[in-house]
Symmetry: C2
Subunit: 222 residues, 2 copies
């Protein structure tokens, strides 16, 4: 083989599989890799995400100024999925009798919340913990979360208007409800449900029971 001239011949894509120099949509692939890594329980490192994207260790920094930005983007994606599932559940609940009963919608919300958190623990953690990237570093995530909270507040306000609540302190009820659901999700996440781990169904059933207990505690009607 004769020595090639210093300038390489233009790389012609001979097969469509040949990876081009420019990655199709590296940003997206990196976010997915980060979410996948988290879901596997592994440490999420920029390098590993780059490795999965079959790209050099420095490449991700063309799309994210630093690790936190990647994590924030991953969190936003997870939050999008989280919210989509909750709104889907509320959409279904609207068809049923829940449309008229704010507490039933409240219940549906809590169930969807915990269901998702049980099935996507690592993603829930990324969303909620604020330890994987600077808190408030993602306005989108903050706004998105605020809207979900406003939704629950509306439900409680409706319930109060219909005389369904024993207490008039809506803020207190709202915080307690959030704490209950958030705490349950995190207990699951942090390994406080050791035995039940095997049968996922049992945890979800307990989640339902806990929500019902809370609602029966704040409701006038038994």
């Amino acid at each position: 083989m004769p020595a090639r001239p210093t300038s390489k011949p233009r790389a012609r894509r001979q097969k469509p599989e040949a990876r081009p120099y420019h990655h199709g949509d590296l940003r997206r692939v990196l976010i997915d890799a980060a979410l996948q890594l988290a879901a596997e329980g592994a440490e999420v490192s920029v390098r590993e995400a780059a490795r999965r994207a079959a790209v050099s260790p420095g490449a991700p920094f063309r799309h994210f100024p630093n690790r936190d930005a990647l994590m924030a983007a991953a969190a936003e994606e997870a939050q999008r999925r989280f919210r989509a599932e909750i709104e889907a559940a509320l959409g279904e609940a609207k068809g049923a009798e829940a449309a008229a009963d704010p507490l039933l919608r409240f219940r549906a919300f809590g169930l969807a919340y915990l269901r998702w958190a049980m099935r996507n623990p690592a993603h829930f953690e990324i969303i909620s913990t604020g330890r994987y990237f600077a808190h408030g570093s993602s306005p989108e995530l903050t706004r998105d979360n605020a809207e979900l909270i406003a939704l629950t507040e509306q439900m409680l306000a409706d319930a109060a208007e219909q005389g369904l609540l024993r207490s008039a302190d809506l803020k207190r009820i709202q915080i307690a409800g959030r704490a209950l659901v958030y705490g349950f999700a995190r207990m699951n996440l942090d390994g406080h449900f050791p035995r039940w781990g095997v049968g996922k169904g049992e945890v979800e059933r307990m989640a339902e029971g806990v929500i019902d207990l809370f609602i029966s505690g704040i409701a006038t009607t038994d």
Copy 2:
């Protein structure tokens, strides 16, 4: 100055302040450094702990096989303090009318729990999260925690016996109570109480209100 012989002259401690080759109780100092680092919100690294103890980066590994073991030891220390505070609060409650009322003791427990968690957020996180060292890696911590849980179960059993509870499903009540308190603590920890951050008192007052709401929800007597 003439060249010294290869064997250094014996190091005589001329002042008591002169640090001896052997650190007094490095293990203890490292644990305290780790807790202090956590409390400052900094990353807890073995090296930094060693730095604070004015010791070489490798020294800690004479006392802990790896970073996790150091974190586990720190968690055990934090848990000891946590438990001490709770038991102290329960001791005080015994003197009052709470001695006879299991739900008042339950309340005192929850208050002490949240009070400590609000004031030592980083230590609470180390204890509860199981992310700083392998979960179940510390039998002491696990046992200690189980005993605290058993305590609450006893309170609920007493309350049920006295006909103070609306529901007979004690397990459900217990899980819900844990989730509520744990969730509130973690919400504070994870920055879900943005505005109130300034006035700590407000968060603690809300903690009290949330606990009362829960108890009034499960109690027969209004």
